[in-house]
Every structure is written in structure tokens, then in C-alpha cells.
């Protein structure tokens, strides 16, 4: 996965798992070899062959790059050729959806437009809910497909996918409800766009001053979105309350128990799960079983008992 430096140069990483031989992507692909500058790998008029993809795989290359300006073209390719193509295996479609989400959000955030992000989230939330609910996908399958680097766009995509799976198992059966949950989850960290990238990507634990800045993100996210009439109260509470804890030790309000919206309780659990199972520059990812133990240790004090029990049941099967 690319760090911020390549993104600031105008390149977006795209997973090679979403590239298919002989399909036309209509944008140039770039490659960065270890210790070298980024270079053109394949011009848009030359479709990739099976042998090309095999070679990339042999060299352990799981990402190539596109220009930021081509994000829309790549998104269209994913939607038309992968996401809605029923012959494509579910895991590839989920990977494509993750890519669409990440690229789309990067684009919206670069444009510094929270309303564009909210519109996108609404569309993508429906796609996520539709794919996850229709295919009855298990966490066991999804966990290995999702990326586990902690970057905001990867994270919101993971959290959204997890939220839909958890909500489904908690009894939310209507697709529009699941789509709402997915959308809220995609937006839950939108306030982080006000946190400087050097703090978010800092290869060490944040200082007290930096934490103070990070802790403002639920409020700034809520303030940006609260006037939108197409977002429900539950979605807004996923943004505002996903760091609240049942015993009042969370932020921004220190709300307790029933003052925390049920969707925020769902979001809180999978937010922590994804944060800990992702690698950070300063630590290795924590195994999913250990994260599950951690969640269960804080059941009733930080996290909702029923939500954790339901999630733990799914996590135990990851292996």
C-alpha cells in the first residue's frame, strides 16, 4: 500500500487482484520497484495479459498505481467489469468494492468536499449492503481479502463491511437498513480530514497535544454532516458517538449506556477490531483472536455485551 508520499505526487495504489487479462482499463498503470522512482508500467492502449499478471504475482507485487486524475475511469472499470459481473467470484467483487471505496473516498477528500463524500458513501453503502447481504458472506472469507494497513480509506471500507456483517447477524434484515449502516460506517471518520496527515501517519504514538486534535474528529465530522437531510440520526450518531464507551469513559461527550445510539455501539466494536488487527508503522497487527479477547474483557464497561458476543462468534472462525 502506498504511503502518503506517492499519493501527494498524484498516484493512487490499485490492487492487482482487480485487474483482469484482456480487459480494457483505459488508464495508464505505473509501478514502483523497491528503492526506485515510480515508472510507467503499461500504457492504457495495451491490455494486460495473463503472463503479465503472473509475473507481478511472482514478484510479490500486489499493487500498481494510477494517476489520481484517472480515479474516475478506474472506478467505472471496477463497477462495470468487476463489481456487477456475476461471473466474477465474490472475493474478487469484494476486493473491487474495497478499491472503489478507497479510490472514491481519496478523490472526495482530495476535493475537500464532505458533501461529495456523503453522496458517495450513500451509493457505496448500498453496494456494500447488497453484496454482503445477498451473498451471505462470512467474516472468515472477508477478513483475508481486506487489507490490514491502517490508512483512513482502507479503514472506513473495512469498518463498513464489518458493520454490515455484524448488523446482519444482530437481526437487521432489511437491505435499506444495512445500506444505512454501511453508509454511516463509511462516514464515521470523515472528521479526520481535519487532522493533519503527519499526525495520522506518524510512525509513533501521538503526543498528548496530537491526541487532543485527533479527539476532535467525531465532533467536526458530525458538524459537517448534521445539516444533511438525507442522513438519518443513526448514521450521524455513528459519526459522533463511535468513540463513546458504555461507562462514560469515551469521547466526545462521555455519554453512557442508552444515551449511546445502537448503531454507534456496533461501529465502536468493529472500529476497535479493525484498528487493532491493522498494522501500524509502530506496531505489528494484533491477531484477531487476541483482539476478540480484548473486546470481551471490556464487555459491559466499554462495549455492548450483545454486540461483542455476536462479533466474537464470527471472529472465532477466522483462524
Amino acid at each position: 500500500m502506498a504511503g502518503p508520499s506517492l499519493q501527494s505526487q498524484g498516484y493512487l495504489p490499485v490492487a492487482t487482484a482487480t485487474l483482469f487479462p484482456a480487459t480494457e482499463i483505459r488508464c495508464d498503470l505505473y509501478l514502483q520497484r523497491v528503492g526506485q522512482a515510480i515508472e510507467l508500467y503499461r500504457s492504457h492502449q495495451y491490455p494486460l495479459e495473463v503472463a503479465d499478471l503472473e509475473r507481478l504475482k511472482q514478484h510479490g507485487i500486489d499493487h500498481v498505481y494510477i494517476r489520481t486524475g484517472d480515479a474516475d475511469i478506474y472506478r467505472q472499470y471496477l463497477c462495470q467489469q468487476v463489481l456487477h459481473e456475476e461471473s466474477v467470484p465474490t472475493e474478487v467483487r469484494i476486493t473491487a468494492l474495497r478499491e472503489v471505496t478507497r479510490v472514491a473516498f481519496q478523490d472526495a477528500m482530495d476535493a475537500n468536499d464532505p458533501y461529495q463524500a456523503a453522496d458517495l458513501a450513500s451509493d457505496l453503502g448500498r453496494e456494500i449492503a447488497s453484496l454482503i447481504a445477498d451473498q451471505a458472506v462470512a467474516l472468515q472469507e472477508v477478513f483475508h481479502i481486506l487489507e490490514h494497513d491502517y490508512y483512513t480509506f482502507t479503514h472506513v471500507c473495512n469498518v463498513s463491511t464489518y458493520c454490515v456483517m455484524l448488523a446482519r447477524d444482530l437481526g437487521y434484515s432489511q437491505e435499506h437498513e444495512l445500506a444505512s449502516v454501511a453508509t454511516g460506517a463509511l462516514l464515521h471518520d470523515i472528521g479526520k480530514r481535519h487532522v493533519p496527515a503527519e499526525i495520522l501517519n506518524k510512525p509513533a504514538k501521538p503526543t498528548a497535544e496530537e491526541w487532543a486534535i485527533i479527539r476532535k474528529h467525531p465532533v467536526s465530522g458530525y458538524q459537517e454532516l448534521s445539516k444533511r437531510s438525507d442522513l438519518s440520526w443513526g448514521q450521524l450518531m455513528m459519526v459522533y458517538q463511535h468513540h463513546e464507551r458504555l461507562d462514560g469513559s469515551g469521547y466526545p461527550s462521555g455519554a453512557t449506556g442508552d444515551d449511546i445510539h445502537p448503531w454507534a455501539k456496533v461501529c465502536a466494536v468493529v472500529d476497535v477490531f479493525d484498528a487493532l488487527t491493522c498494522s501500524r508503522p509502530y506496531r505489528q497487527p494484533v491477531p484477531s483472536g487476541e483482539v476478540c479477547d480484548y473486546l470481551q474483557q471490556h464487555t459491559g464497561t466499554w462495549f455492548d455485551r450483545e454486540v461483542v458476543a455476536c462479533w466474537a462468534q464470527q471472529v472465532r472462525n477466522i483462524g
Partner: protein, 140 residues
């Protein structure tokens, strides 16, 4: 059942509005959510208030209640309320002289069971609002 904060219970049963002014007080570290442009004064009072629904929840009716004020400045005031308040939520408070002032919630923090502290800033109230209510509130 959650236990009501005694300060709030006293507030809600108070018939008379009491005011208390004192010297400027220090900003508590845990409430430094906003830049202080004006000195704050301790202002303990129980005021009639209309709490309007937070943005994002327009279907909720405005509520008549009483709030306990804590401090006051030229820019705003902080108050206690028994329910969680949300940023950008508006509250009309009736001052002793009968004037209505409109507040916008900037931050809210739980103080104890059934008691939230909120920092609010004064915002412009339409002139007509002092003559007639903005909306027909439901009783609480």
C-alpha cells in the same frame, strides 16, 4: 434507574430564579473545548428554556424545561441539562428580565447520572422571536 444529579433536582424544583455573580473563574482543563475570547463569570441560575431538536433529528419536538446555568461571558454561557445535548443544537433561555436569548451548543460533556454540561455561544435571535415563540413546544 439512573440517579438524578442533586444539583439538577434542586434546579427543576426551584420556583424562583436566583442569580449569583462573582469574579471571573478559571477555565477547567476538561472543558477547554473552545477558545476563550471573553472572561467568564460564575453565573448560577435556573432558567426556563426551550431546547430545540438537534440538527439531524427534526422530527423531535422542542422541549420546555429548566436549565441550571454555571457561568457566563459576553460570548456565551455554560449550563447543565438532564439530557445529552449535541453541537449546533439551539436553546432559547428566558433571562430574569424576560428577554429571550438564543444559544448554540458548542460542546457537551456528561457530569454524572442524568446531568450533562454544555458550553454554548450566543447567536442572533430573530427580532420576532422575542415577541412570539419560534415554534409550539411540547411540555416535558
Amino acid at each position: 434507574m439512573s440517579q438524578m444529579n442533586p444539583e439538577m433536582s434542586t434546579c427543576q424544583s426551584a420556583a424562583a430564579v436566583e442569580h449569583e455573580f462573582s469574579l471571573p473563574i478559571e477555565t477547567p482543563a476538561d472543558e477547554g473545548h473552545e477558545d476563550r475570547r471573553f472572561p467568564r463569570f460564575s453565573f448560577r441560575s435556573c432558567l426556563h428554556a426551550t431546547v430545540y431538536p438537534p440538527p439531524g433529528k427534526p422530527e423531535q419536538d422542542p422541549r420546555h424545561c429548566q436549565v441550571l446555568t454555571r457561568d457566563l461571558s459576553r460570548g456565551g454561557m455554560s449550563l447543565l441539562h438532564k439530557e445529552q445535548l449535541f453541537p449546533q443544537q439551539t436553546i432559547d433561555v428566558v433571562l430574569q428580565d424576560g428577554l429571550v436569548r438564543r444559544l448554540e451548543v458548542m460542546w457537551c460533556r456528561r457530569m454524572g447520572a442524568g446531568c450533562y454540561s454544555a458550553g454554548c455561544r450566543f447567536i442572533k435571535l430573530p427580532d420576532a422571536a422575542n415577541a412570539e415563540p419560534r415554534d409550539e413546544p411540547s411540555g416535558e
